[in-house]
Each structure stands twice: as structure tokens, then as C-alpha cells.
Symmetry: C2
Subunit: 248 residues, 2 copies
């Protein structure tokens, strides 16, 4: 059984989807049989690899996941597409813990054929994110080097600790990733220093620079490695991939 990594942060726009898609593509490039799971009703991860959202998500109508998984045209990379009907799943998952566990078990049952599973979450601490955390081995938190990003981290960590004690004892901190990094800005360097002082080795050595190629790739429906393989963004995510695979 491979590793299940959830990419989560309730703060919006910090690079969750970009990280989930880029890491999935990087792992596939390295020969790992990889599944990208889109749990966000915005379905950004689904469209970033050129697929369309589905009407009803397999997690809502409990269809076998194997039936719903789609090919991406990239070797070793499959996707469980998102659905805009997540409004049901989110309402479902906040309604009762039993529901969220049912969904988590249903997801877990189909993941054993993959070496690496990456789960993209919406910007919230609601039911969808908790379901993903309940199914995962690790949680990776992208943050921007900005003031609001720091504030949200403590709330996020509290929820993760709750899930570790109530739903999933094997969940670990997979790491904190600094994204949209602009080394020439004082603010970036200041937050970088604060985060590393506070969280130490949990913070990845690799940082992802701000690179417009990362914002352009989704409109072409391919990951950064395919859209601009020599860009700074692609190189940073390959480096991150090696660091994640090293941290087993």
C-alpha cells in the first residue's frame, strides 16, 4: 500500500491545487503509480489536467472508485475527478461523523493499488477536508509568505491534532511548503524566518518561487512539467517531489 498525502489549508489561494497537481505529475514522472483525488467542489485539480467535473461524485453515491477513475494521458497518473455536487458531500460530512467515516473507508478501500495518492481539498476546515485527513497518512500544508497565511496555520494544526486523536492515529505532518516565494521581498524573508524558527524541520527545504508559468499551465489542461518543463516552477516541484519521496 502506498502513501496517501492530503494537501490542505483553510486559507484560500495558497497553492493547494497547484501543489497537488504538480506533485502528482512529478511522482508519475518518477515511475510511481499515482492517483490524484479532487475533493474540492471548485474542481480546479480536475480541469488542471484537462478533464471535466462529473455530475455525481463516486464518494456521494458510493459507486466503486475503480469505475470513476479517469486516465490523464500522462503515464502512471490517474485522476478521481471532482464534482460540483460536493455541496451534498460537504453538507453530508458536516451532518454526522459516521457519514464522514463511511466516505473515508470507501475511499481507503480502493487506494491500495497506488504507490502515491494526492488529495486536493477546498479552502475550509469543514467535512471534506476532515474526510480527506481521516483517510490519509500525511498532510502537506502549502502557505504563502504573508501575514494571513501564518495566522491560519495554528487553526489548521489544531484541527489536524483533533483528527489524529479521534479518527486517524496514523496521520502525520507531511510538511509545510512555502509557495509563491519572492526572495527579493522583505515580507517573504521575514515570514520564512518566523515559520522555520517555529516549525523547524517540518518545513521543506524546497520553496516554490512565484512563476507565472504555474498560473498559465492550468489553462492548457496540463501539469507544469508538461507545459514548461524548464521553468523555475517545474524545477521546484521536481525538487519537492524528491524531498517528499525521501521523507518516507
Amino acid at each position: 500500500m502506498g502513501r496517501v498525502l492530503t494537501i490542505a489549508n483553510q486559507k484560500g489561494g495558497v497553492g493547494k491545487t497547484t501543489t497537488a497537481v504538480s506533485l502528482a505529475a512529478g511522482c508519475a514522472l518518477g515511475g510511481q503509480k499515482t492517483l490524484l483525488v479532487d475533493l474540492d467542489p471548485q474542481c480546479n485539480a480536475t480541469s488542471a489536467v484537462g478533464l471535466a467535473p462529473v455530475q455525481r461524485h463516486p464518494l456521494v453515491d458510493a459507486r466503486p472508485i475503480r469505475e470513476a477513475v479517469q486516465q490523464t494521458g500522462i503515464e502512471h497518473l490517474e485522476v478521481l475527478p471532482g464534482s460540483q455536487s460536493f455541496r451534498d458531500v460537504d453538507a453530508l460530512a458536516t451532518a454526522a461523523d459516521t457519514e464522514s467515516m463511511r466516505v473515508a473507508e470507501h475511499l481507503a478501500a480502493s487506494l491500495s493499488v497506488y504507490d502515491m495518492v494526492l488529495v486536493d481539498c477546498p479552502p475550509s476546515l469543514g467535512g471534506l477536508t476532515r474526510t480527506a485527513l481521516a483517510t490519509s497518512d500525511e498532510v502537506l500544508m502549502p502557505i504563502q509568505c504573508e501575514y494571513f497565511a501564518m495566522e491560519g496555520l495554528t487553526q489548521m494544526i489544531e484541527v489536524i491534532r483533533q483528527v489524529m486523536t479521534t479518527d486517524n492515529a496514523r496521520l502525520e505532518f507531511g510538511g509545510i511548503l512555502l509557495t509563491m516565494y519572492e526572495s527579493e521581498l522583505d515580507l517573504t524573508r521575514e515570514i520564512d524566518r518566523e515559520v522555520r524558527e517555529f516549525f523547524g524541520d517540518v518545513v521543506f527545504t524546497t520553496v516554490v518561487p512565484r512563476d507565472v508559468a504555474l498560473a498559465e499551465a492550468p489553462s492548457h489542461g496540463v501539469p507544469i512539467m508538461n507545459y514548461a518543463p524548464r521553468s523555475q516552477g517545474a524545477r521546484a516541484y521536481i525538487e519537492l517531489c524528491l524531498e517528499v519521496l525521501d521523507r518516507v
Copy 2:
């Protein structure tokens, strides 16, 4: 009775909080008696004006709003602070429409003493955002000039139309605001052209440039006009304020 403007977009990190706080500060500067309402459990708007989140939000325990409103030290600007207990409110508001309407009525009853009310929302289309839309006269949608931002807009507009027909017939589109605008990037100019072709006059003429001063201001607990009054960010939000006040 003044105008109630909700700042909403389910896409995360597009500048909702920065716009709500900066517009509120701009209107107060212009002599309008202004209230900033923080409906996001992250409570970023609350900390951006130097206040702390409250334990229980007045909308959850139905205390009179007048008691919970706080001064900011900026003339004509008051704040209804956010609360991290919004997880109850969001679960509440998704549970039953009647609850969301009760909250909307409770909020509406106390707003008549203000000329301008600005409501900041979380990055979701859940109960909190719907409650804000049910209470408002207009909805202002900040978007970044990036691919994912465009995709989310159509989902957002569908929800707004639903609220217009079921909860609040007086709700109107207040405008679409282009934020973190970088005129030297092809991607920015391309999305700008697409949005204006598709939405026409709904899109504000004013755009807000990417300006690090806007990201620094929250760590000082003051709006941009107080932190860096001559910055490009401050000037753009003053201009936007004039455009919003002109659009009555």
C-alpha cells in the same frame, strides 16, 4: 438606510478580505458611517484592523449586534468582529434555510444606522456566504486575472441568481473587481480582455495592482490608507471607493 455590500467569491485568496477592509476604510475616510462585518471563521478582516476574534459570534447566540460592534480607532469605521466558532454558524446555516433567514433578519435589523456596510465572506458557497447574500443589496466579486478565477465565476453567479430568486429580490450585482493586476503579464491582459468582453460594464474600470504594501498592512493591524497612504494599493482602493459610491 445605507447600502449593504457583500464581498464574495468561493475561489480562495483573490483579495476578498483586502477589498472589504480597504473599501470600508476608504468609505470611512470619505465621511460615511461604515460597518465592516467579518463572517469568515478565519477572522482575517478582524485582525486586519487590529482587533481580536470573539468567542461566540453575536449571530450565533442572537445577542443584539449593537453590543458586539467594536471601535477601530478610525473615525466613522466600526467592526462586527468574526469568531472562530463559525463552524457552528456554517453547520447551522447549511442545516436549514430557516436558520439562515433568522440570522439574516437579525443582521439586517441592526444595520439601519450605517451609510455603508461591507461583509467579508469565507472562500465557499456554503451557509455563511448565502446568509450574507440574503442580507445584502449588492455583491462585489474580486477576481485574480488567472485561469482558475474565471472558472469559479460562473458557479458563483449561479448561486447569486438562486439567492436573488429565493431569498432576496433586491440583491444586485455590485461589480467584478480585478485584483493583483500585473499589466506586464500576458495572462493578466488576456483574462482582463475575456472578463470585460463577457461581463461588460459590470466590471469596474478601477483595477487593483499587485502591491506588497497590501500584504504588509495586515501585520500592522491597520488598513492600507493608514499604513501606506501614497502606495499604489491605497490609491487604487480610493479610486474604487469613488467608483462604488458613484454606482448607487
